[in-house]
Symmetry: none
DNA sequence: ATAAACCCTCACGTTACGTGAGGGTCAAGG
DNA sequence: CCTTGACCCTCACGTAACGTGAGGGTTTAT
């Protein structure tokens, strides 16, 4: 087993290779995001290939909109896997490309309307702004969900194992029953006591499940998002967004009393 | 002439319509980038449709990577034209989409190599980083080139004035002569000494001109771009992309010796 | 052995807002 | 008529991710 003399790079070399500034490397060292794996006697930072790979991950994740804090979290997660991460990154990139194409066509429409009519289509102006804003915000918010989805499966599986089977089955039955009732009564006035009773049961069940999830708001958030994206659309008795909306209205009506 | 009661929006409405935060509107007002066209008696900011259009431009330009300062400059240029700007924005978006696709394939290659060989292709890791860095920096640097075309004319005019007329004429004659010769000999082998002689003269002339441009790399870059887009296509004796390509090949052949 | 080219550690500056604090305005309701 | 809730205002300080020197060692090529 030869001491395979790995290639070592100084800040300047890393900078030249990757295009990041030296100051950035200093910064990433300061915040312990990318401490060089070694130092020379004189105190020079020395990076190896693994460091470069980590840097690549950092840059990509930052490019996708994560804050350095979030990147820190992601990379330090025990189950972090570079290959899985790369796959996710590609998926996100494709999604982003789609978004850009959407924006491009929105701008195209705006321009066309202007040239056809000589007037500005103000609603298109607003929606163009909204599209762009959405795309700018998307970075780091919706993004983290991409990284949570896979994890989500796993977490749910864990929770599943840690919970007695009868409890799970019971809960599922409760849910399906409740969802059916809600769906049959979605036209009730939010102030109707029957609606409030339904909301009560709903909140209770949610509480129970929340208890399983622990105090992890991310998990809840992910589930929400997955709903919004229709991940569970095929499951007939899973609550839909309309169901959620109804319950929210009822809860809101109660609060405002 | 009825006082056509234009629609007016307060900060909250603009925010709801476009997705920007109220604070951002305040900020854009503070720096005089987007002062509302009116105020209510109580001091409420009141925006009209034209303001919304300006906001759309601001958001798009920012999205493309301009700083607020740059956006300020652009929008206040006397020759600024929203429609032209929209066209440019679409082109930039398409370019950016191409870049994202490139990055996506780079990541794909990296991943594939890893999965085929079980090893990381370090050079790909570095180049992936470089791609991403390039794309992140591109914002606002190369970007301004798209918008510089008009400015370019002006700068060239300035330089023209600051340089004695005979020198300019001499240079122009040198260029036309050289370009004709190059065009007649573009099928020469890059290693041919005659080709190299041409390349030498070319490089020398380029040096001379570079000297006029001072140390402003942006200017040089702009010229490159304008060439690529065929701005000077009508000028018969202006070098074409093929001419450039030929010289580059010759230079490359020389270096690799 | 002496520049030239790198590298180090402070430490303050910058951009584009976020986030309250403290306080007017205005339509609906009691 | 007055209050309450939803908006709006103006400061003014906070923040993220570096940029940009200042002041001072290190390495290497001549």
């Amino acid at each position: 087993m030869a001491v395979s003399r790995e290639r070592l790079y100084r800040v300047g070399e890393v900078a030249a290779l990757t295009g990041v500034s030296i100051r950035t490397l200093h910064h990433y060292d300061e915040i312990e995001l990318l401490p060089p794996s070694g130092r020379s006697e004189a105190g020079y930072r020395l990076y190896n290939d693994a460091d470069l790979l980590r840097l690549q991950q950092i840059l990509t994740l930052r490019f996708l909109g994560f804050s350095l804090d979030q990147v820190c979290d992601l990379l330090s997660r025990p189950d972090f896997d570079v290959e899985a991460s790369l796959r996710i990154q590609r998926r996100v990139l494709r999604d982003r490309i789609d978004e850009l194409e959407r924006i491009e066509t929105v701008l195209g429409e705006l321009l066309e309307r202007r040239q056809m009519t000589g007037e500005w289509a103000w609603e298109l102006v607003a929606s163009a702004s909204a599209s762009i804003q959405a795309e700018m915000k998307l970075r780091g918010e919706q993004m983290s969900e991409y990284y949570t989805r896979d994890e989500l499966q796993q977490r749910l599986a864990e929770i599943g194992k840690a919970t007695p089977a009868e409890v799970i089955q019971q809960t599922e039955e409760d849910w399906t029953a409740l969802v059916r009732e809600v769906r049959a009564n979605r036209d009730l006035d939010p102030t109707d006591p029957r609606a409030q009773a339904l909301a009560d049961r709903w909140n209770e069940l949610t509480q129970d499940m929340a208890h399983w999830f622990g105090d992890d708001p991310k998990l809840a958030n992910s589930i929400q998002r997955n709903y919004a994206e229709g991940v569970y659309a095929e499951i007939a008795d899973a609550p839909t967004m309309e169901d959620f909306a109804f319950i929210q209205k009822v809860n809101a009506a109660r609060k405002s009393e």
